[in-house]
């Protein structure tokens, strides 16, 4: 309990420091937000243009696809907001020895990595997600009852954990290979597959994004639970199990990695 309090206090201090650094460049903040927001909007316009030509996509309507699309942004945005620093571990902290400073402080190393930075760009994704999901609620295509509302938030958290785990796993490979950025990027970009119903893909691809790099579980599969009556709540259960399992694997690899870490000496 004391431990918990201490970390909370530390997190506040570190984030306050970080916020001071972004205050000096408010324009940058707006540009980043705009950049991410804009990228997402383009995806919607694409769907809109396509649906001018067809009544539905293999049984899914335009409104339903918009919900899946918007829902996919939320866990992604949450993860992006809090753990963006993991990217730097994969790309350059290990190779240039910046990781040293985490090893020296008497705090949990993973905590230090994520407490060092908040990524305000993520608000662009969160904003898109919230707008689209709210729009879907207003249209009444989403199932709303106590169970679904509770599981909605559970699913967001589990989804964000899956994102973080996948990022952490691939970033941790850097401890052995020095720079794992390209692998991290490859894995992360696979999330784009999950913005659309996975039924449209060939079997191999579907298997890959459902069970190997389980992005289907952060977007399409839980979203279908909120849209359709015949999908059971077990879907969210599996999502949580996957989140826990992947987190344990990723954290174990990260932990081992910090033991083999050798600084770039000079």
């Amino acid at each position: 309990m004391n431990q918990c309090k201490r970390y909370l206090r530390l997190y506040k201090i570190m984030i306050a420091q970080f916020l001071k650094t972004i205050m000096q460049s408010k324009v940058d903040f707006l540009i980043g937000l705009f950049g991410f927001f804009f990228t997402q909007i383009m995806g919607i316009v694409f769907l809109y243009l396509v649906f001018q030509q067809i009544p539905n996509l293999q049984g899914w309507t335009f409104e339903q696809l918009i919900f899946i699309y918007g829902f996919a942004q939320l866990p992604r945005g949450i993860d992006h907001l809090f753990t963006d620093n993991i990217w730097l571990v994969g790309w350059r902290m290990v190779i240039n020895g910046d990781f040293d400073r985490y090893m020296l402080r008497p705090m949990n190393i993973f905590f230090q990595v994520i407490a060092e930075k908040l990524q305000p760009d993520a608000l662009g994704e969160l904003l898109t997600g919230v707008i689209l999901v709210a729009g879907s609620l207003a249209k009444g295509i989403v199932i709303v009852d106590i169970l679904h509302v509770v599981l909605f938030f559970v699913s967001l958290v589990a989804g964000a954990v899956i994102y973080t785990s996948i990022k952490l796993f691939f970033a941790s490979l850097a401890f052995w290979m020095k720079c794992s950025g390209p692998f991290l990027q490859t894995a992360y970009e696979m999330a784009d597959f999950a913005k659309y119903p996975t039924e449209i893909y060939a079997k191999g691809v579907r298997f890959l994004i459902t069970w190997v790099i389980p992005f289907a579980f952060v977007a399409y599969l839980p979203a279908s639970f909120f849209l359709k009556n015949d999908v059971s709540a077990g879907m969210i259960g599996i999502e949580c199990v996957i989140a826990v399992v992947f987190w344990c694997i990723a954290y174990a690899v990260f932990h081992r990695g910090t033991h083999v870490y050798e600084s770039a000496g000079n």
């Binding site: 540009i31 383009m42 030509q53 067809i54």
Partner: protein, 272 residues
């Protein structure tokens, strides 16, 4: 002309060599960028099965498959970004060095981009292109592409490359006003993905919007060469499209020169 080649060719070769040095990362990036092609491929397949018409936006399903992968080939030739070099030079202040050297900064960047373009064309694109052509004839049952179409396509792509690079140079000038060009580049990429026809063929847009696009340089970057390749633009239309591309090269060249002149006047570099 000889003098020009002698001055700027080293930039091209340098960029080529640099690309060769980081092969491992490069192959992964090819994989990543192919992801989006495959997503589009499956998406379009589903879209065509859901539609009761055989052609959407003037393209059959087979042609759309060719379109999706030609987008990949064409963009890897055309979209060789230089705005990140500009921003790096401005942020670090090395742009000052480029101003005192007796060379044209923009030409050196274009030469560098050409090096990147050649490498990307030779390493992944040609192989994917040939693979696509074989797949197209054997599996999709379309006619093989003619030599004239290939020549016109390459000519059009080179112009596209120039249009893109000259536009990107103008865009890179933003770096003089903000240091956080990452967000801007993200927005640029999203916008271009749309307006150039990378994401969806221009023919899917409402006709009023298409009319507007006719007066913008973007559709010339990716859509035009692919339409030529697919044999949708032939004879006089193809000639007119190539002429329009050439016109954009000239316009953007002049505009970029003017902007550069104005921007460098207010440039302040500290230290060095």
């Amino acid at each position: 002309m000889r003098k020009y080649v002698k001055i700027y060719l080293p930039f091209t070769l340098n960029a080529l060599k640099r690309q060769m040095a980081y092969k491992g990362a490069f192959y992964l990036f090819i994989l990543v960028s192919l992801f989006s092609s495959f997503i589009s491929y499956y998406l379009w397949k589903a879209i065509y099965t859901s539609s009761d018409q055989a052609t959407l936006g003037g393209l059959t399903q087979e042609e759309m498959v060719v379109y999706v992968f030609m987008v990949y080939v064409t963009s890897s030739i055309v979209m060789s970004s230089i705005s990140n070099y500009v921003s790096e030079d401005v942020v670090k202040g090395t742009v000052a060095m480029n101003l005192i050297k007796p060379i044209d900064y923009r030409m050196s960047l274009i030469a560098m981009a050409a090096g990147n373009m050649i490498y990307r064309f030779l390493v992944p694109s040609v192989a994917i292109w040939i693979g696509l052509e074989i797949y197209k004839v054997t599996a999709l049952g379309l006619r093989p592409v003619t030599a004239v179409e290939v020549l016109l396509y390459l000519l059009s792509s080179i112009m596209s490359f120039l249009i893109y690079v000259l536009f990107d140079f103008c865009f890179g000038m933003v770096a003089f006003f903000t240091t956080y060009i990452f967000g801007m580049m993200l927005a640029e990429e999203a916008l271009l993905g749309f307006l150039t026809g990378q994401l969806i063929p221009i023919s899917f847009f409402p006709s009023a919007v298409q009319r507007v696009f006719d007066f913008l340089p973007f559709s010339s970057m990716v859509y035009t060469p692919i339409m030529i390749y697919l044999g949708k633009y032939t004879g006089r239309t193809a000639g007119f499209m190539l002429f329009r591309q050439a016109a954009w090269v000239v316009i953007l060249y002049v505009a970029g020169g003017l902007i550069w002149k104005r921007v460098t006047k207010r440039l302040v570099v500290l230290g060095g």
